[in-house]
Structure formats: C-alpha cells, structure tokens
Amino acid sequence: MIAIINTGCANINSVRFAFERLGVTPEVITEPAQLAHFDRAILPGVGHAKVAMERLINQGWNEAIDEFQKPLMGICLGMQLLCESTAEGNVTCLGKIPGSVSQLDIQGLTAPHMGWNNLTHCIEHPLTNNITSNDQVYFVHSFAHSVNTSTLAQGEYGQQFSAIVAKDNYAGMQFHPERSAKVGATLLQNFLNWQL
C-alpha cells in the first residue's frame, strides 16, 4: 500500500494517475497519523518552499515523516523539503537527505530550467535500475540540491545538481517522473520495487 501525502499545495492527480498506470492504486492521505499504516509514501510538492514547509510543520507531517521507517520519496519540491535547508525563503527543511538546496546558477540560460534533459553520472542503485545517462526526464525548477554522497544521478543546467538522491529510507527526484514518459514509469516502478 502506497500513500501520497497531500498537504494541499501540490497537484496530486498526476502522481496518482502515474501509479495507476503501473497497476497500483495509491491512497491520498491528509492526516499524518495515517502514514504509519503504509508500506511506502510519496511526498509531492509544487510551489514555494516556505509555504510548503510551513504547511508540513503546521499539519504535523515533520514528526510522522521522521518516524516513518519505510521508503519515502519526495518529488520536485518534495525532494527539496527532505534536504537540510533551502535558499528559497531561507527555510530549514526536514533534514532527511544531507545537503542544502540553492538557486540554480543558470549562466545566462532561460529560467526556470524547464523541459526534457538527460540524467548524468548514474550510480548503481535499486532506484536507478534500467536507467542510463542518456535517458531524458522532465524538469521544472529554479532551485536545486548540491551534488554530494546522497546523489544517485545528476542533472546539468548551467551547473551540476542532484537529479536523484537517496539516504536510508528517504529518496528524492528533482524532476517529474510522473510526466517523464517511459523513463519516468521505469523510475516509479523502481521506487515500488525498492527494498531497504
């Protein structure tokens, strides 16, 4: 049983439908107390980090996520919220993934980083199974996580950044696997198959 955490500020439908296309029916949960009943969970996120982090704390999600021992993956802003801190609004985040998030140094390219870009430097891991460095995924973001020991795959747009991260039972994808065609479906299936 997989849960999608709904804090009220993300597009839940597209993530839910992506799992349904894989034959899995996720449950959208709005109460932190529900989380412990699930085998794995997704933390989606779109919007401003400060607003999203305040909602997580005000609704009590930070403790539920902290106590959760099973695979939990953040998508896009959801991934950034799992890190230590972000420069977007200068907020302290959940601290489950080492490293901080800062504004992408785009070197004169158009902003935000929006569109299909390839993954680079893929490291072997259950989450990157059947994924190669030429595979393209769909990104939409202006802030990014620095490359460090938790990085499983990188992206490049003006600078190198973490595209996929994992630490203990927590993982994150900076792009939108739910909107990344067959490559995205493979990545979501990898998350479903991931055994700690």
Partner: protein
C-alpha cells in the same frame, strides 16, 4: 543538454480536436484523447490544448476532458481556454494539468498574470500572444479573441511591449503565435521570433507556420526558441514526430529521441 521541445497543439471545440486555416473555417480532426495518445506515443515532448471557443463565449473550458488526459498521458500538458481567475486556474490544475495558458483574459486584466504567479508559481503560468504583422506600419501588434473571426480584434499593445509586460507580471513561459503564418505552412516567422527572443528571458515557444521538418530546424537555429508548436502538419500526417526528432538530432539540435 536541455532538449528543444516539439509541441503538438490541439484546438478543442465541442469536445473534439479541430483545425482551421488562419484561425477560420474549423474542421474536425479527431478525438481529444485519441490524438493526445497518438502524439505522446510518437515522441511529442509536451501537448497544448486550447479550447478555442471558451474565451469567445466568455466561459471556462470544460474541465472534464482535462482529467481524462491527465489519467492517460505521461508527458506534460498545458491547457488554455477562458481561464480568467485564480479559481478557474485552480479547477484546471486540480484535474492534473501541468500548466495553464492565458491569452485574451490577460489582455483584459493584466494583473491576472501576477495573481496566478503568486498562487501557483511561475512554472505553470504560460502566456499566449497572438501577434499580427501590420505591413502598413511595419509593426507587430497583439490581437485578442482570435478563436472567432467575428470577435477577433486588435488590442492596445504592440507585441514587444506586451512581451516585456507579461514577464514583469510573472509569466513563466511565452507562446508567440505569429498570426500571418498560422496554418499556411510556409515556415515560422524567424525574424519576429528572433526579435522577441532578444527580450524574452523565460522559455519562448514558436507557433504558426510549420510546414516542413526544415522549418523546425530553422526556427531552433535561427531564433533560439525553446520549443516549437505546430498543429496541421501533425494532424494531416505531413510530419511524423519520431522522424522529426531524428532529423533534428542529425542537424545537431538537442532532441529527445524515443525508441
């Protein structure tokens, strides 16, 4: 490397996809989901759906088909048609659309762009601009309500000033539809797009005029746009998206190759 995006545009009217020439005389092309699946399976990078009669009829598009697209399509898609408030946009985004595009309602009330930006973030706010080249004055002028030839009219804006203004208000992407080229398949308006590129810091999508695969290559190399939108060449099977991607790749244009 960021790929140049190929974006089929599906004009929706009465629940079906239609196509007209220079925005006039619409004919039915096919079902919404059927065409959306066909294009995404053949390698489209993104889809845009415009419910063309919504703005003209002063109503919000029918959100029922939006959820159906979100359910079955695994690439990003943008929806447009009569979105004139934060509440309208919320209804469309809740169904699973990745972006919303506004055009005439933004001309009527430019602050709408800022309101949408503040509520949903820059990344999902696309502004569509219908730009007409006026030969007499040599200027590019913004038109509105182009979904209906009887309602279509010139606005108070020149294209360049409107492009600057929508960025200041928080637009995350601009689709520039060059009306003189629309549906006639004689190539994109590369000169106009280059001029707009120079003043556009957000992603810029070319629209209007695609006829051959070389037209796509030309607009990417000449005008440095981020994506190219087209309708009739795909609807009429003149260009196969998968072949187009291979062609662009062979011209060293960054593309997402499928299969």
């Amino acid at each position: 490397m960021l790929s140049k995006r190929i974006i089929p545009c599906l004009d929706v009217k009465n629940g079906q996809v239609v196509k007209g020439v220079k925005f006039k005389g619409h004919e039915v092309v096919g079902g919404i989901l059927e065409l959306a699946k066909l294009y995404s399976d053949s390698g489209a990078d993104e889809l845009v759906f415009y419910e063309i009669s919504a703005s003209v009829e002063k109503r919000l598009l029918d959100v029922n088909w939006v959820e159906n697209i979100a359910r079955h399509i695994d690439i990003p898609f943008c929806v447009a048609g009569g979105i004139k408030s934060v509440a309208d946009a919320a209804k469309v985004l809740e169904q699973g659309a990745d972006k919303i595009s506004i055009n005439s309602p933004a001309i009527a009330r430019p602050e709408l762009i800022k309101e949408l930006h503040d509520e949903f973030g820059k990344q999902c706010i696309v502004v569509g601009i219908d730009s007409f080249y006026d030969e007499a004055s040599g200027e590019y002028l913004v038109y509105q309500l182009t979904g209906d030839p009887n309602a279509s009219s010139r606005t108070r804006y020149k294209t360049q000033e409107w492009v600057k203004k929508v960025q200041e208000l928080g637009a995350g992407e601009i689709v520039l539809n060059c009306m003189n080229q629309d549906g006639v398949r004689k190539g994109y308006d590369n000169d106009q797009l280059s001029q707009i590129r120079a003043i556009c810091d957000v992603p810029l999508i070319a629209s209007g005029g695609a006829g051959t695969m070389q037209d796509f290559a030309d607009v990417f190399t000449h005008s440095q746009v981020d994506g190219a939108l087209a309708a009739s060449v795909f609807h009429k099977n003149i260009i196969n998206i998968n072949e187009l991607k291979q062609f662009l790749s062979s011209q060293n244009i960054a593309s997402r190759l499928c299969n």
